[in-house]
Assembly symmetry: C2
Homo-oligomer: 115 residues x 2
């Protein structure tokens, strides 16, 4: 890599990763995995309102970038868990801070939009 990554540069790979990480569903799933490994059903309950299709897609995207790992325990009935990797855990603070900022500022955000 010749240059320092810069999300504002059109062709920088960092922008693609930012888009992947900074989607509503990615942030919610990362946030839901904060407590430790979880199964599909548990994630469906935690991230209220996510569709199975969106959860599967989000987990797959996070797996592809090495943020989440999928463990198939190889048992019958199947027991599959998802967990943040060390890379995923290294961004927990940043994700959590953004989520907390939004949760804390709901009154101001709502006041402006008038809803």
């Amino acid at each position: 890599m010749g240059q320092k990554p810069n999300v504002l540069a059109r062709k920088c790979a960092s922008r693609r990763y930012l888009a992947l990480v900074a989607s509503k569903w990615s942030l919610l799933v990362i946030n839901a995995l904060d407590d430790g490994p979880a199964r599909n059903g548990s994630l469906m309950r935690k991230v209220e309102g996510i569709s199975q299709k969106m959860l599967t897609q989000t987990l797959r995207d996070l797996e592809t970038t090495g943020i989440v790992t999928r463990d198939d325990h190889g048992t019958l009935p199947p027991h599959v868990t998802y967990e943040l990797t060390p890379l995923g855990r290294s961004m927990r603070k940043e994700v959590r801070s953004l989520v907390v900022w939004v949760e804390t500022h709901v009154p101001e955000l709502a006041a402006t939009t008038g809803s």
Copy 2:
């Protein structure tokens, strides 16, 4: 508000605001406004690759939630600037941290995806 805002709750308003804030383009525009007020043309250059339509939409969304303010200086030719509001400035640290995390971890993210 009866309950503490929680982005994982389906009907919580915070989730709508998270979705708005945590979009790739919102984060890039907030990031580009970090240096101070900017005109449309300057933002188009800073946020490389954004279309005029997407920039207008993103600025409008950020204005609606009180994160960005639009100042029309009322001159001819028109001179319009966009600026982070105090609310917008209060989230700079969180946005910047997430962006820095992504920029810093490009090698690991790329290693996993094999690109």
